[in-house]
Each structure stands twice: as C-alpha cells, then as structure tokens.
Symmetry: C2
C-alpha cells in the first residue's frame, strides 16, 4: 500500500543518538549486549540508531563476554563529560560518591544529558543534581535506579500524572525477596538461606546494603519524590532489614494466611509523608503476596486510578539494561521530562509524619513462659492500650523453655501498639526480643 513519506523536517532526526557508557559491570555489560543484540529494534522504535561511541571501566583487560572492539576505550570517565560527540553519558559506575558523582555532576554542568541506574547517588544528591539539570537544561533520567525493569518512575511521572497518590508500597529488593521466599518454602533459617544466596550470586559477599534495607530505602526516597513532588530525603526513611526474622515467623505468618515481604512504603498521613522500609505481612492470596523470588513489585494507591500493581524483574543485567535503554530511546525520541516528574522549582520540602500516627493491623510474636496467667497479663496490657486481638496461635513446644505466642491485631494506632509491647516486654514471663510487623492489606 502507498506510504506517506516522512516530512523533510524530520530528516535531521535520523542522525544516530550517540552515547558513552561509563562502568562495565553487570548493568554496563548488559547494556552493551542489548544495544548490539537489539540495535535494529532501537532504531525502529526511536526512529534513529542508538550508537555506543565510547566505554570506560577500571580494568581494560578483563573479559566481560561482550565485544568492545568497536568502541573507543576511555580510561578516565570524566573525559566523557567533555566529549562533544556524545548526546548522553550513561553512568553505571555506582556508589553515591567518587567517580560516579563527579561524572554526573561534570556532565550536567556541561549541559550533557545523563542516564543512570545509581539509586545511592540520587537518594543522597538527587536534589542538587536536579537543580544542576534545570540550570543547564541537561536531562537526568534514572528509570533503572528503581525496581529494575518495572517502569515505576515513568508510570508515576507520566501514566498517573493526573492522580493524587496516597501511597506507594513495594518489594524493592530482589535479594531480600529471594531470601524470604526460600525461608518460607524450605523452612530454613535466615543465616542458612543467606549463605546459599551468596553461593548462587543472588546476594553480595557483603550483603548488608541489601538485607539491612539500605538499598530499598534509596529507591523509596526516589519514589517519594516522584509520587508526591517533594525533595528526596533518604535520611527520613525509617529502615529495618530482615536479619531478625526467624523460620518460625515465616511459618506463623503462613498459618494465618499471610506472607512476609520487605516492603518499602511511602504514604501520606494527614498531609504528612511517612517513609519506611520494614518487613511486613501481606495476604498470601493477593497479587503482591504471590510475588516470589527475585521479582520486585510496586503497589500504587491513588485517587483516580485506584489500586495498581506492577511486577517484574528488579535486578540483573538484561532487565536493568532494558530500563536504561528505555530512557535512552525516550531521549533519542526527543522526550524531555522533569527529573522528578514535577518542574524542579515546584518540588516541596516534605512535612514528615510521625510513624506512630499510622493506623494498621499488626502481627506480633512473643516468646513467653508456657504457664498459666501469662496470657491474662498480656491481654490486660493490650486492653489498657486499646489494642484488640483478631486471632492468635500458641504452640506448646517445650515445657521448660519459652514458647512462641503469635497474635494478629485489629487496626490500631502504631504508637498504641508500640506502647503496649514495651510494657509487655517488661513482664518477667516474656523473653525479648519480640517481633512486631505491620500488616499491609494490599
């Protein structure tokens, strides 16, 4: 059939879109691989080719399993910031300081667009970098920094742009979700499963960034900014990891119809924002309850769209490279967005909520002496704080040692819950530590 020829004015856009890739770890190598493998598709989607001009990494000799011979090798990545051939520099070095920060700053100062997957950098310096981006007009895009292939940055910034968001809640760390899934499925304890995850390459040799919730908190600070139009503030995320969870907790949660997930949650409470990364219970038969293994998920609650859920691969070479490349195609197409989805000058300094003001259902595991009167003492304290029990499991397992007593509570003010527990833990018949988790009815 006859085709309408492209208007002449579009011809200039057939110039390839030229990039420099700084950092050739998992994601950098994945991006090179993607551009080589799907070059034709990128050309079709963007209407112009995406061309890697130069690459940079610490060790030139290392075999990365991809052919780098067609690209200029740059020892000092900062050189890319000055290279007039490059339309964009892709920063995949990582870390909130050092080369990564210097490169991104230098690029933006020079008016050079940046695409990055660096959540630590943006969580710590996002506001200053966004100000720089406005000053020089250089784009700064970071879809790959949050939840891997799940396009939550784009979805909040564009697809839900007409919505007042009330909360964003996500499984934002694949390592933790893998560990929690394995603990549940095999009944093994945390330390054992962590060791296994490290052997399989799902956890770093120093896993603390992941399992202590820092990585998820970096991502959450960025989600707050995009969802609510506030300056990102990593320091205001209440963070708790998953080290303290026992095989018992997984088992009890399951018996009560729940699953345990490390959830990053940012939520408006009476106009103030509460940010937390903590293990939570979600209904086992909900879509987010079924998100297992290395998958991530993000749940968004907003006034018009209602409840929405996105699930996908949260890490790994190809999924993260897919998100980096999506930013590149957007830029190649000429789309330009405010860094956090609102004009930078309209970002507000958030009013932060006191987490104690949150109302939620809770799960509590106590270790108590298995003798009469204990439950009466505990019930009395709960009653005095206005906390009411919805269901309970008690197993007598060892007549001499403490036994777990597990309770699920009706909706309660968090500070009432915490005050009650503080008092309960002072009972002579109750062993510390107890384990309290919020229940999210997603």
């Amino acid at each position: 059939m006859p085709r309408t020829p492209a208007p002449v004015s579009l011809v200039s856009s057939f110039e390839p879109f030229r990039i420099g890739v700084a950092g050739l770890g998992t994601v950098g190598t994945g991006l090179v691989d993607l551009v080589q493998k799907n070059g034709d598709l990128l050309m079709r989607r963007a209407g112009r080719g995406i061309e890697i001009v130069s690459v940079s990494a610490q060790n030139r000799k290392k075999d990365r399993g991809v052919d780098l011979s067609g690209y200029e090798w740059v020892d000092d990545p900062l050189v890319m910031a000055q290279d007039p051939r490059l339309d964009v520099v892709v920063e995949l070095i990582g870390g909130s300081e050092g080369f990564a920060r210097a490169l991104v700053e230098r690029c933006l100062e020079n008016g050079k667009a940046v695409v990055t997957a660096n959540k630590a950098l943006l969580a710590h310096h996002g506001q200053a970098l966004a100000d720089l981006s406005v000053k020089t007009g250089a784009a700064l895009a970071f879809e790959a920094a949050v939840a891997g292939s799940i396009p939550i940055v784009k979805v909040l910034r564009e697809a839900f742009s007409a919505n007042k968001v009330s909360s964003v809640c996500g499984i934002l760390n694949g390592t933790c979700n893998y560990i929690l899934t394995e603990m549940r499925e095999t009944g093994r304890d945390f330390a054992d499963v962590l060791k296994d995850a490290q052997d399989k390459g799902y956890a770093e040799s120093d896993p603390s960034f992941d399992i202590d919730g820092i990585d998820a908190a970096h991502k959450l600070a960025l989600l707050s900014a995009i969802a609510f139009g506030v300056h990102p503030d990593f320091g205001r995320v209440h963070v708790q990891g998953i080290r303290h969870l026992s095989a018992d907790d997984m088992d009890f949660a399951g018996k009560m119809g729940f699953r345990i997930k490390l959830l990053g949650t940012t939520r408006k409470i009476n106009g103030r924002i509460a940010q937390s990364v903590t293990p939570c219970l979600v209904p086992a038969d909900s879509p987010i309850g079924a998100v297992d293994g290395v998958y991530n998920a993000v749940f968004v609650e907003s006034d018009c769209a209602g409840s929405s859920l996105l699930v996908g691969r949260g890490a790994g070479a190809a999924p993260t490279a897919s998100a980096v490349a999506a930013d590149l195609v957007d830029l190649a197409r000429g789309t330009k967005m405010d860094v956090f989805g609102f004009p930078q000058t309209s970002l507000e300094s958030a009013q932060w909520a006191d987490a104690g003001e949150a109302v939620a259902k809770f799960y509590l595991r106590l270790n108590v002496a298995d003798r009469s009167g204990v439950l009466a003492d505990i019930s009395r304290i709960l009653h005095r704080h206005g906390v009411s029990i919805e269901s309970m499991i008690q197993h007598a397992r060892d007549l001499r040692g403490p036994v777990p007593l597990v309770m699920v509570f009706h909706e309660t003010l968090q500070k009432d819950m915490e005050a009650a527990i503080k008092e309960i833990e002072m009972l002579e018949s109750v062993d510390k530590p107890s384990c309290l988790m919020r229940i999210e009815m997603l």
Copy 2:
C-alpha cells in the same frame, strides 16, 4: 533555599492547554470531574493548566452530577475539529462509526490532536487514522482505550521499547472477570451471575460485546500493533467468550490448582503472530491468578525485561479518565509519540500464525457415560495423537446420566489436541459439547 528561575524561553509554555470534550457518558463526565478536582495537580505536573473550553453530548438537559456551566456547550461535536482555540479534542463518544469516527477523522485531517478511549474505532480504523495523523502531524493518543488505568500502551511503547516482545496476555474485560470471580466464589452458574452483574451495573443490558469477547478483542488488536509494530487487525483475532462455562468448570479448575480467566493473548510463534481471546486456566497461586473482580491485568514477556505484570482497574469513570488525562498531560508537556509506538511508515503487515501451531498445556472437560471401558477408549485416542495426561478428576454423580471427566494434559501441539477431541467426541459414550481450555503458566 535559593531556586533557579525558569529560563525565559519556557514562559510561552505557561499558556493553558485547551481541550474540548466530545461525549459526556461515564468517562466524559469522569474527565470533567477529574479536571475540576485535580486541576492544581495537572498544572504542576504539566507545567501549565489543562482547561476545558467546550463540551458536547446528545442531551444538554441531562443532569450528569458535574457542573458544566463554565464550558461552552456545542451541539455538533464536529465543530470542535475546526475550533482554533482547542489544542486537542477528546473523543469519548464511542463506537467504531458515526459521530466518533467522523469527529476523529475531521480533527486529524485539520491537524487537530485527538485523545480517545475508543477501542472499537481504533481496532477497526486504527491504521487509516494513524496514516492521517502522520500526514497532518496531529497526535492521536489512546491510552484509555486499553485496560483502563493500566498504562499498557505507554509501557509497551516506551518502557519496553528496547525489548523484543514475545507475548502479551491480559485480562482485558472487567465485566467478564467479575462474572468469572463470582461464579468461582459462589458456585453459581453463568446466567445467574450475569443477571446479578447487570443489576449491579457491572454488565450492560446487552452484554454481548463484553461476554462474547469482542471488547477484549478490540483491545488485543491494539496491543498487537504496539507490541510487534504491525498494523492492527481485529479480523485476525480468534474470539471465544465465556457463555459456555459451567459452575463445574470453575470447580474442577480450582481443584486442580487453577483459576479460569478470559485472556486476550497475542504471541509470536516462529515469527508469526497468533491473536486470541479465550477462557484460559492460570495457576491459582500466580500473581495473575489472584486478579479478581473488576480488575484487569496484562502480562508481558520480552527478551530483556523478562516477565512483567501490570494490574489495575480496567474500567469505570475515574480510572479511565485518569488514562485520558495522562495522555493530555503528555501532550501538554510537549511529548509526541508515534500512534502505535513505531514510526507509522515502519509498521508491518503481520504474518498471522495458525493457532494450531501453538504448544500449550490444556484442560479438557468431557461428559461421559459412567461405565467401564470409556476411559480406555479415550486414552487410546489420546495416545494415538501423542497427547499425554498429566492429571485427571472423575466424579461419579449420577449412575444413569453422563458424568464429567476432567483431564489436564502435558504440553501438546494445539492441532493434535483438537484432532484428538474431535475423535473422542464421536465416541457413542461421550456427550457433546466438551470444554477445552488452554493453560497459561504465567
């Protein structure tokens, strides 16, 4: 802290973005409500106000529960196509012909941008309209046409732009999903639940577009175009609705660990595309298996991002208006996209696959005489066609009448499966019709 002032060159973008709304049914009224309620947010997100200039509908007198007094009333929507004040016309009249088609054509011919939620129009005339859009440079956006508030158009077009998509599979009709969920939860039969859904407003008085799969097929044809870069072709969707499903099927599927969903699937099979809308089984404990009631879901399989799932409200005033408004904000921000996410001239005419070439697991319910020898006959036929049984349920319920015999098969070529069933149905001991469904291991 000091703020960088906006560059002077951006001042012109503070002109409001002016729209005309044609059609004031559920979605049109919802859009007016959204613009009134969230006007400040739209202004912040877009960097400029979204202003309704004029509205049009059949009946001016009708009370729609929103204040229309601030807008110009236009009796003939076609007038909007010529109105130089309007940046975009929002077509929410519906239907593949008549006023809706005339208005969209007229707008595009005149270089006026169009935002629409009209899947029927685009499924039938999308290619011609996209050609018009290229010819005059007028944008044509339709996020709201597919899966309500789920931003699947944007996600396929932009977020997964670097991915070779292998399949898109979705619960695309909320009415059907509501009916199937009710049938499962209450054990009632189709007709009974449909009646109830009509009383509650979840199903139209003439429900055939929904329950016979036509509505989902319209949406699926659009998803094929965006996922694979082909001309949309509604005529090549194999369509089967949900009228024939029995309460027994819901029950048996559940006993075998599955749930029944009406799935729209478009998939590449050896480079060819197969499109179908049919009831399918999905694992009950998968994220998509947990998508119940009026929710929609879309599952995307692609080479880099891997498996992705989006869940959200598929219909209703506010969720659909949210999607319309997202398109408006994109246009107000200056983002312009190819109609189907590829330059229109690069869209290909698809090679269509023979559905029989698909390999899948299957569910089969037969109604058989409850006597010895029947199973041997059936097994012999299955064996001859290379079809192997994975599990089976047989209940003796009535010694005189036929009893259901339910089987789940290992992966099989669909045409082998169908050939075997054809032969089985010719057995004197087997009653027609049997019920065959594909199992999607999403």
